[in-house]
Symmetry: C2
Subunit: 295 residues, 2 copies
């Protein structure tokens, strides 16, 4: 029996029998795990994520950017829940020959990005391996009023994305800005009904949000904000955009768009469509990036 | 510039400049990171750890045991701090061809061991990689009165180890019992001055405890409890014993040994020596297992 070629199916097979303690607000299936109980009014968020050389970055990538990417991906996941990252530990997978100068520059890059977003690196582990890889595990928190899942969109909600999609391989995948501040502002002032970050491409991630919410979606592909030079297919499928995808009742849309323009002049915010009921059919999208599919 | 061949030196080079927030009770250098502030009277513990095929287990190992090992190593680290593990997330590093039946059995093994020790698997991530590997990141807690670091041994304290050392490669490294219950009992009833788990062999780990505490140690190698068939060198160097190493004032020794015999009839507890001042010299030990040294 070989592996399913789809990551969603594999995760379901591996974790479908897990039973959560009553403290678990959200387990497998969202950007972070969410746990209740430590302090009133707040949830604990827990995340693990890895980047692997040859897959998430090349041997030629600037070391500081590799460090940035490792940490910023995790920050993006906390942002997507309406939370903040606080403390992280690093597992270093290290091949037999590796340049120390490069490694220290990667670690400096991790530390710099962590600090820039209020996060503190506090420990880790090392092991030998064939691939060079970094696993980041982080804890953080979210105000209970601000926690935003991907599974809670409502029929009729409008769908928004920040920034421009596609073409991340040209450099953005290593130097992107995780939308932590924007997400903090959003959950405080406009409380999206659902949110996630775009890591695998809108064509993969929007169906995930819709499926988690038990809904369909109708979008106008012509509305999808594209990076300069990116085709529609690339905007849907390249992945690694690390932008926010969120939903909101139409009644809030006008105020949001006005307030957004005032505060985030340089970052686009685009309404790309709306959520439909589970009886409607979704717009057909080409597929996004699946980590288990080789290109 | 190539890598230092010693794991301790490498970690110092990579993390020596990290600056911790005031909430960080213990960063790099102990079995878990320790964070204050979430709830009064308790600390949050955070740990990351990976096992890699070909290094921590072979392709022929029983899948359930691979899963057990991944989780039990982490439980052992929480035990070593006087804490308890609560929630964990798994990063799966998966090579292009991998048997799904084996993988589901590994995941079932992880879940079974996690539950057996009151821990809940709550999420994860998957990525393609050359090596099959599992990274476990876990959070848990420790009562402030029970937290036990490796850096707080006192001159004159007696040194104890649980169980028998050496020969783990014959099978114990895959099927060991993490000493969570024993450690809970110890910190409640006898509060060791310092504690850690033996993952890299007494010959590597005792010097770490002594160095962290700024002390020396004098042990009688003849007293080291050995697995049947294990030589002294193997007991010192094989590693992966996952037993507890701890220190205690001599005044508590007799009561401890009596109480231990009453409650843990089947698990040895051995006094192997005592901590000396930083002006004394330590007993010479052959080296333990260093994860960055190829054998």
């Amino acid at each position: 029996m070989i592996l399913p070629r789809n990551e969603n199916e594999l995760i379901k097979l591996l974790t479908g029998k897990w039973r959560y303690s009553p403290k678990v607000v959200c387990g497998v299936g969202d950007d972070c795990a969410v746990i209740a109980g430590a302090s009133p009014g707040r949830y604990v968020l827990l995340k693990t994520d890895a980047i692997v050389e040859g897959r998430h970055f090349t041997a030629e990538a600037a070391p500081a950017k590799i460090g940035h990417k490792a940490i910023a991906r995790v920050i993006s996941d906390f942002a997507a829940m309406g939370g903040i990252p606080q403390f992280a530990v690093v597992t270093l997978f290290i091949p037999p020959s590796f340049n120390l100068k490069r490694l220290t520059a990667i670690y400096a890059g991790m530390d710099k990005t962590a600090r820039a977003y209020g996060m503190n690196l506090v420990g880790g582990e090392t092991t030998r391996a064939t691939d060079f890889a970094l696993n980041i595990a982080a804890i953080g928190e979210a105000d209970k009023r601000h926690l935003t899942l991907r599974s809670t969109a409502k029929t009729g909600d409008l769908i928004f994305v920040t920034g421009s999609l596609g073409g991340s391989i040209k450099g953005k995948h290593l130097s992107f800005t995780p939308r932590l501040n924007e997400a903090k502002w959003l959950v405080r002032h406009f409380k999206p009904t659902a949110m996630m970050d775009l890591s695998d491409g809108l064509g993969e991630d929007l169906p995930r949000l819709a499926s988690a919410s038990g809904l369909s979606y109708q979008i106008d592909p012509g509305n999808i904000p594209r990076q300069r030079g990116a085709s529609l297919d690339e905007a849907l499928s390249d992945g690694e955009d690390y932008e926010l995808l969120f939903t909101l009742p139409p009644s809030k849309s006008q105020n949001l768009q006005k307030a957004w323009k005032d505060i985030y002049q340089k970052l686009r915010l685009t309404c790309i469509g709306k959520m439909g009921s589970n009886k409607q059919s979704s717009t057909t999208l080409s597929h996004g990036f699946d980590h288990l599919r080789y290109k």
